[in-house]
């Protein structure tokens, strides 16, 4: 396994040097030279080179099972409610299944959730694989992993998708290792190479500063977790027909080593920021915990969730579960309203893929304005209450 540079083909254009995220390439006497101590064999330079001067030597292994078929969506439910990311994946999954000329299948694990299968069919599923068992009521790594592994081994899907949620990221990582499949985390773009039947998985890396497109050429299924709020929800079509396949497994499949003692919901009063279409977020400029009431008022008017920068969480003004940014949550709402947030890069990576960004800040040079769709330079203690008032008036 190594990177080979052909001195004959290399014209010294330096494209590869610029493309390398790890500074492993340099020009020596107008030819590219690789420092193998820094190179991670990521292949970025190979894709960039216009002269076929760089090659990644990879011995071909072949694990592609030609029988594998179907695009699967793991449909996450909590307390019997299908999570919206599942509908988003069914929307994207339909597009992928059409390109692959195969079926779109939903996988539903839970307890007493059979009535939910119709919902999934209305959202485009041609098949719903249902495993209903008391041990699957709440998510637990062991039984969920065992069941999904067995289903995949039995039906051999070509593609498996799941939301990049706290459930999906735990579960799918385990499943992929059990079946030795390739897995790409946290995708924001999915497409199909129809000719090679490959899933093209695009995701941000380095905190959103670069994007990478990843494939799984020689293994099936091709697995990916997908970010919330990036894909469009599948439309409801009550006429869509699908079949339900109920599966049962022997009892030891459902045994869990971990046990849930209690489930505590903290964010019941406000909307969950990962799910919200609108987020009103506050930072250091809020000056104190008591002032977050202004944001809560605005959030109520907009039916929004309240978010926070790290500065406000570290000051103890807001709980960590509301933190947006590199060490908090990555969000992608339709509208993100940043109040008194300067816009440090660590915050921006958590929210810069929001559709519309509004910034309210007294400092006209705050970096948040560089990413804002609309910004107001002003005193948030004047602007925010006025906005709440005017927005309410507009809808009376």
């Amino acid at each position: 396994m190594s990177l080979h540079i052909s001195k004959e083909n290399c014209v010294g254009c330096t494209l590869c040097v610029k493309a390398c995220p790890f500074a492993a390439l340099t020009m020596v006497e107008k030819k590219a030279v690789v420092n193998l101590d820094l190179c991670t064999l990521c292949g970025a330079c190979v894709a960039e080179c216009k002269f076929e001067a760089i090659a990644l030597k990879r011995e071909k292994t072949d694990f592609v099972n030609l029988e594998s078929k179907g695009v699967w969506v793991f449909c996450e439910q909590k307390r019997g409610v299908i999570q919206s990311v599942s509908y988003e994946l069914l929307g994207k999954g339909r597009e992928l299944a059409t390109k692959l000329k195969t079926e779109l299948c939903a996988v539903l694990l839970g307890h007493e959730v059979e009535q939910k299968t119709q919902e999934l069919i209305c959202r485009g599923a041609d098949v719903v694989y249902l495993v209903d068992h008391p041990a699957l009521k709440n998510f637990l790594d062991d039984p969920y992993t065992n069941v999904l592994v067995r289903l995949i081994k039995k039906y051999k899907p070509e593609v498996v998708l799941s939301g990049a949620t706290s459930v999906g990221r735990s579960l799918i990582s385990r499943v992929a290792v059990k079946i030795h499949a390739g897995l790409t985390a946290d995708c924001t773009g999915l497409d199909i190479d129809e000719h090679k039947r490959l899933l093209l998985q695009t995701r941000p890396a380095f905190g959103g500063n670069i994007m990478a497109t990843i494939i799984t050429p020689n293994h099936r299924p091709q697995m990916a977790t997908v970010r919330h709020k990036v894909m469009k929800e599948a439309a409801i079509d009550p006429k869509h027909k699908g079949r339900i396949v109920k599966e049962t497994f022997e009892e030891d499949t459902f045994v869990s080593r971990t046990k849930i003692l209690d489930v505590i919901e903290e964010i019941s009063s406000t909307v969950n920021i990962a799910e919200a279409d609108v987020i009103v977020s506050g930072g250091r400029g809020m000056k104190g915990p008591e002032n977050f009431k202004l944001l809560e008022d605005l959030a109520r008017a907009l039916n929004a969730a309240v978010g926070s920068s790290r500065a406000a969480v570290d000051s103890g003004w807001m709980p960590y579960s509301h933190q947006v940014g590199q060490t908090g949550k990555t969000v992608c709402p339709k509208i993100y309203i940043a109040c008194g947030i300067s816009g440090q890069i660590q915050h921006l990576v958590g929210m810069q893929s929001s559709k519309t960004i509004v910034a309210i800040n007294s400092d006209p040079h705050a970096p948040i304005f560089q990413v804002a769709t609309f910004g107001i330079v002003g005193d948030l203690f004047e602007v925010v209450p006025l906005l709440t008032k005017k927005f309410k008036e507009a809808f009376e």
Partner: protein, 262 residues
């Protein structure tokens, strides 16, 4: 209780990774390497368990030789021993090959009760290696742990963050936890720790020492392949209004209406 093993990764300090708008490439000058910020909480938690139960805190990393610096920093915070899995044969590893290699390294290191990992690395952001390790080792896991409430008689009770709040879980040891920021406040290295870290031995683990299956490591053991790397479309700033609040808010209400009900 047996040892605690912490898996850490050396990453570029992402705040320094910026795009040059003219060439549209990553600006690398002055990019420092640091311990993945999420791993700092894992190291701190391991040192706390060490102090509470009198067990060894062992730190493990996989990476190029320069990742040694990250391990020394962990020792300065209170870790007892450090292992570095480093070999040219590991280059190009994706999360499957990485978690296989680290799991084999852990087996080599010996008995343990708890494995701690940060919830994800700040460069790749995958959150897949922790769960991958526990699966390879066939031990239970709890991800997104925000508190270790209690450990007794080979059972742990922990709090796991969810989107809506948290769950309290009980699990048998040995177990793997991935931890979130809320779990603790990492300490600064002590002077004694810094002195110790300078002379500490970093145990090197090579592919041969770990008796790895050749086709499960590095590029060959990695089912996923990066085919393209590019810069995301940079967001451009829009209208910035700095006049009277009244007028600015009117404009904003119009924008919100359009976005919400279009």
């Amino acid at each position: 209780m047996n040892s605690v093993i912490v898996c850490i990764k050396q990453v570029p300090e992402t705040t320094d990774v910026k795009i040059n708008p003219e060439t549209n490439t990553l600006v690398r000058e002055g990019v420092k390497s640091i311990i993945n910020p999420f791993d700092m909480y894992a190291i701190e938690e391991a040192v706390r368990l060490k102090e509470k139960f009198g067990v060894k805190a062992i730190v493990l990393s996989m990476g190029p030789p320069q990742a040694e610096a990250a391990l020394r920093e962990a020792i300065s915070m209170g870790a007892d021993e450090a292992y570095l899995a480093s070999d040219r044969a590991f280059a190009g590893s994706d999360t499957l090959a990485t978690s296989y290699t680290l799991a084999k390294a852990i087996k080599k290191i010996g008995d343990f009760s708890v494995i701690l990992c940060g919830k994800q690395a700040s460069d790749g952001d995958t959150a897949q290696v922790g769960p991958g390790i526990s699966t390879h080792l066939d031990i239970p896991q709890v991800t997104y742990v925000k508190k270790i409430e209690e450990i007794k008689e080979n059972t742990a009770r922990v709090e796991r963050m969810t989107e809506e709040g948290f769950e309290i879980l009980e699990c048998p040891l040995p177990c793997l936890f991935t931890v979130v920021k809320e779990i603790n406040e990492p300490r600064l290295p002590s002077l004694k720790g810094i002195m110790k870290s300078k002379s500490a031995k970093i145990h090197l683990l090579t592919a041969q020492m770990l008796e790895l299956e050749e086709d499960r490591i590095g590029l060959k053991g990695s089912p996923t392949q990066v085919v393209k790397i590019f810069s995301p479309e940079r967001r451009k700033g829009g209208e910035i209004y700095s006049g009277a609040a009244e007028e600015g808010v009117d404009k904003l209400v119009a924008i919100l209406k359009k976005e919400l009900y279009a």
